[in-house]
């Protein structure tokens, strides 16, 4: 069987055809390039420029080029402290969300029929179509002083007076953030777990591997893209998160998003933009440092 040029690729042909085709192959990215490249980067161009300007007392942006807005982030200790805390919180939530979602999704894909998988996925995601604010308020009613948990604990006689352990502090922010992040982690994991061939685990055990060895050396490497995606979906949005800390965090559970938003709501756009950009730059740095783990290139010719 001859393989003509233009009839798909084989490993032997791959390099040359790849190069000739590379430009033509990029066309599907054009709509995304428009959205992300033009709309997003164009919008951010404004904000980057503004971050170097000043907001005057009349709330106008004055092109008084300066780096004061950026310097403030590093010289006023509050911001670095809060940012550091936000990174820790985001990491903790990511670990917890993954630890919660992975067994759940594994069970779903491995032991549940295809039809019921879809039903359960929907059952997981549909509640998240209700208002975020309402859900967070509901959490308040659970964690609060007169909330469900306290009433339960008092009813069971475990405590005499309502505890404030779960309210208006970092713990409540943590719990609610895990809650809201769960469906994103689960969906990201579902996508890659669904494609996994569970027969390989049996084969491994057949060859003498312990179950946990099989998981570690066979399952995890293959679903690694899914795990990384889930991590990004949970970790990254928390950096900009401000609503949950306000509603359930009290004065203790403040995250950097709150501080940045305060500037925008007071029409201090220059300051707010500068801080947001510094934060984004730092997270980008993190992603670059870990880029080896974030490999996107196609691993061709496996097996």
């Amino acid at each position: 069987m001859t393989s003509e040029v233009g009839r798909g690729t084989t490993p032997a042909d791959a390099p040359e055809i790849g190069q000739r085709r590379s430009v033509a192959r990029l066309w599907p990215a054009i709509p995304a390039a428009l959205v992300l490249g033009v709309l997003f980067l164009g919008s951010m161009a404004f904000m980057v420029v503004f971050s170097f300007w000043r907001t005057d007392a009349d709330f106008h942006l004055v092109p008084d080029w300066n780096v004061d807005n950026y310097v403030k982030f590093f010289t006023v200790p509050t911001y670095l402290r809060t940012f550091g805390k936000t990174l820790v919180m985001a990491a903790a939530v990511t670990v917890a969300a993954l630890a919660t979602a992975l067994p759940f999704t594994y069970f779903l894909v491995r032991y549940v029929s295809r039809r019921w998988q879809r039903i359960v996925l929907l059952a997981v995601i549909v509640p998240f179509w209700t208002s975020y604010l309402l859900r967070v308020y509901a959490w308040q009613a659970i964690l609060g002083e007169r909330g469900v948990i306290n009433q339960l604990l008092m009813g069971l006689g475990i405590i005499d007076a309502p505890t404030r352990l779960f309210t208006y502090n970092d713990l409540s922010v943590f719990i609610v953030l895990v809650y809201v992040s769960f469906p994103f982690a689960a969906l990201a994991l579902y996508a890659t777990l669904e494609r996994f061939d569970f027969g390989q685990l049996r084969a491994a055990q057949d060859l003498g591997a312990r179950p946990d060895q099989a998981l570690r050396h066979i399952l995890l490497p293959q679903i690694r893209p899914g795990i990384i995606t889930a991590c990004i979906f949970v970790f990254v949005p928390i950096i900009g998160e401000f609503l949950t800390p306000v509603v359930v965090g009290g004065t203790q559970g403040v995250l950097i998003g709150n501080l940045v938003i305060n500037f925008f709501r007071g029409a201090q756009i220059a300051q707010g933009a500068a801080f947001a950009i510094v934060i984004a730059a730092f997270v980008t740095l993190l992603l670059i440092v870990f880029r080896r783990h974030l490999q996107v290139e196609d691993v061709v010719a496996r097996g």
């Binding site: 393989s3 798909g8 039809r115 309402l134 990004i232 990254v236 997270v283 992603l287």
Partner: protein, 286 residues
């Protein structure tokens, strides 16, 4: 791994099952149930609050009433807001899924010089607080493109932060895709486009579905960016969040409950119909 087995039975199922495996399965099942309970407890409370008498949603429950439902269903503004939100979310979900899926291919296979950089650019929108994005997009739409604000500009704004999710999730699945299937198709004479349509897409459907669900979820509850990009229209999140001076009433809980019931019913019906249809077709086929 294969040995002679009756047709239609998965060989895995005929292997002897160790008690170890059975215990694991039970533990996982228990965990799944706990997680579902964790997910639904706040929802149950949310629904209960819609029946609670006081004008401020929350505990204690002083009395039950259907007044808030009456309120919600006669509130023209609220209903308009819901309609607009659904329109935007559906549009965003469809567009983001198409745009994101298309973009995932060149990202993974296009042999771009710096694929990591491309991925990071794709991730940037999610890192930034919504207000920064919202104001930036507003300025860009008005000062550069001189567009009038409307629900369509809202859709554009939402695409900015939903497309990254779709790209990332489809790319992740595409990375692990077994190329041999495509090569086999090519050997059998398929054009790349045919291979894409008939081989790749059907096999990466979980990530496409996940991407669609995620973008819908993100869009239907987005307030900040919507506020800055919407024209003289209301969406449900803007309606809720801007009741700052006066406060939220349980009418909102009522609407949320109705929406929840509505979507669950709709999907439930859809799944039932689909499986009935499949059973009918199978019966006809045999």
């Amino acid at each position: 791994m294969s040995w002679p087995v009756a047709r239609g039975i998965d060989p895995i199922e005929t292997m002897p099952v160790s008690p170890h495996a059975r215990a694991t399965r039970r533990a996982l099942w228990l965990w799944a149930v706990i997680v579902m309970a964790f997910l639904y407890v706040p929802i149950v409370l949310l629904v209960i609050f819609s029946f609670n008498e006081p004008a401020s949603p929350g505990l204690p429950i002083t009395g039950l009433t259907l007044d808030w439902y009456e309120d919600a269903l006669t509130n023209r503004l609220l209903l308009d807001a819901v309609k607009n939100s659904i329109f935007v979310a559906v549009a965003v979900s469809i567009l983001a899924t198409i745009i994101g899926t298309m973009a995932a291919f060149p990202l993974v296979r296009g042999r771009i010089r710096y694929p990591g950089a491309a991925r990071i650019v794709a991730t940037l929108p999610i890192m930034l607080p919504g207000m920064l994005l919202g104001i930036g997009i507003l300025l860009f739409l008005r000062r550069v493109l001189d567009l009038e604000l409307s629900l369509l500009t809202v859709v554009a704004g939402h695409l900015v932060f939903t497309v990254p999710f779709v790209i990332l999730i489809v790319a992740a699945q595409l990375q692990g895709f077994d190329r041999k299937l495509e090569w086999a198709a090519a050997d059998l004479g398929a054009e790349p486009r045919q291979a894409a349509r008939h081989i790749i897409l059907p096999l990466i459907w979980p990530s496409i579905l996940a991407g669609a669900l995620i973008s819908f979820t993100l869009s239907i509850d987005e307030f900040v960016i919507t506020f800055f990009t919407v024209g003289p229209q209301l969406t449900l999140p803007t309606y809720i969040y801007t009741q700052i001076k006066f406060g939220v009433t349980p009418a909102v809980n009522a609407i949320a409950t109705l929406l929840l019931l509505g979507t669950l019913l709709m999907f439930g019906l859809g799944i039932v119909l689909l499986s009935v249809g499949r059973r009918v077709r199978r019966r006809d086929a045999t």
